[in-house]
C-alpha cells in the first residue's frame, strides 16, 4: 500500500538547478557520470526501462542512472560495469533507502541530492 506524501511529477527550474548542482559535484568527486530521470516509466518492468535509459547514455559503463517515477512511487538505480567496481550493489541499496525515505516524506529534490551525494561518496 503506498504511503507518504505525493511527489511532484515535474521539477521546477530551481529544483532542477539544485539537482544539477548535486550531479556536478558528484561527478567531480567520483569521476563517474550521473544521470537522473524523473517521470513515467514505460511498461511493467521498471528495471528493464531503467537499463534502457542507462544504455542510451554516452558511456554506460561509467554511468549511474537514477530513475524515479513519482506516480508509481518507484526508484531504480543502475550502475555501469566500471562504476560497479567501486560501488557495490549493497552500497547502491543504501543510497536507494536514503532516497526512498525522503521521497516518502514528499522531498523529491532532497532525496535525490542526498542519494547522489551518497553514491558518489561510496565510489572509490
Amino acid at each position: 500500500m503506498p504511503s507518504g506524501e505525493v511527489l511532484p511529477s515535474r521539477l521546477s527550474p530551481a529544483q532542477r538547478a539544485a539537482v544539477e548542482e548535486a550531479i556536478r559535484k558528484a561527478e567531480l568527486a567520483s569521476r563517474a557520470e550521473f544521470s537522473v530521470y524523473v517521470g513515467p516509466v514505460d511498461g511493467d518492468d521498471a528495471r528493464s526501462y531503467a537499463t534502457q535509459l542507462h544504455n542510451t547514455l554516452v558511456a554506460p559503463a561509467r554511468s549511474i542512472m537514477i530513475v524515479v517515477d513519482p506516480a508509481r512511487r518507484l526508484l531504480e538505480i543502475v550502475t555501469g560495469g566500471w562504476v560497479r567496481r567501486g560501488l557495490s550493489d549493497a552500497e547502491a541499496a543504501l543510497a536507494a533507502e536514503t532516497m526512498r525515505s525522503s521521497f516518502a516524506q514528499g522531498d523529491l529534490v532532497g532525496g535525490l541530492r542526498a542519494g547522489i551525494h551518497q553514491l558518489a561518496a561510496h565510489i572509490n
Binding site: 503506498p2 504511503s3 507518504g4 511529477s9 515535474r10 521539477l11 532542477r16 539537482v19 544539477e20 550531479i23 557520470e33 550521473f34 544521470s35 537522473v36 530521470y37 524523473v38 517521470g39 513515467p40 514505460d42 518492468d45 521498471a46 528495471r47 528493464s48 526501462y49 531503467a50 537499463t51 534502457q52 535509459l53 542507462h54 544504455n55 542510451t56 547514455l57 554516452v58 554506460p60 559503463a61 542512472m65 512511487r73 518507484l74 526508484l75 531504480e76 538505480i77 543502475v78 550502475t79 555501469g80 560495469g81 560497479r84 560501488l87 557495490s88 550493489d89 547502491a92 541499496a93 543510497a95 536507494a96 533507502e97 532516497m99 526512498r100 525515505s101 521521497f103 516518502a104
Partner: protein, 139 residues
C-alpha cells in the same frame, strides 16, 4: 618642414612631436561645404519632382468596388481563420491518428544529464550478460 630635433645648451638632443595637426578651420570649412552641397541636392530634387501618377493596371478594378460588410468579414476574417484551421489540422492529424495526442506522445519525464533527444530513441535493455548493477526501491 619642422626640424624634429632640438638640442639643449649641453648638446643633448630632444625629440619633439612631429605629428601634423589638421587645423580646425579646415575641418569646419569642409563640413560646411558638404552640408551646403547635400542640402542643395535635396532641395532641387524636391522642387523639381512632380506628382507621382500611374495608370490602373489592366484587369484591376477601377477603385469603385461595391462590397458588403459580410463579404468584407469573410475576406479578412473567415478565410484566414479557415486557412489556419486547415494548417493546424494537417499538422496535428498524424499524431491524433497514431493516438499520441496533440503533444506528440512525448513523455512528461525530465532527464537530467541525458541525451538531447530524450526518451524518443532508447537503446535496448540489458540482457543476461549485463555487467550493470544497482538497486531498486518503492515507497
Amino acid at each position: 618642414m619642422t626640424d624634429p630635433y632640438r638640442r639643449t645648451a649641453a648638446g643633448a638632443d630632444i625629440l619633439v612631436p612631429v605629428t601634423t595637426v589638421l587645423p580646425k578651420l579646415v575641418l569646419h570649412s569642409l563640413a560646411r561645404r558638404v552640408a551646403v552641397t547635400l542640402g542643395s541636392l535635396v532641395f532641387l530634387t524636391l522642387a523639381t519632382a512632380g506628382a507621382a501618377s500611374a495608370d490602373v493596371p489592366e484587369g484591376w478594378a477601377d477603385g469603385n468596388i461595391d462590397m458588403s460588410w459580410g463579404h468584407l468579414l469573410v475576406v479578412i476574417v473567415a478565410i484566414p481563420v479557415g486557412i489556419g484551421l486547415v494548417i493546424t489540422l494537417l499538422v496535428a492529424l498524424p499524431g491524433l491518428v497514431k493516438g499520441e495526442g496533440l503533444t506528440g506522445g512525448a513523455p512528461a519525464g525530465e532527464w537530467l544529464g541525458g541525451p538531447r533527444k530524450g526518451t524518443a530513441e532508447l537503446a535496448a535493455p540489458d540482457g543476461e550478460t549485463s555487467e550493470a548493477g544497482g538497486a531498486s526501491a518503492k515507497w
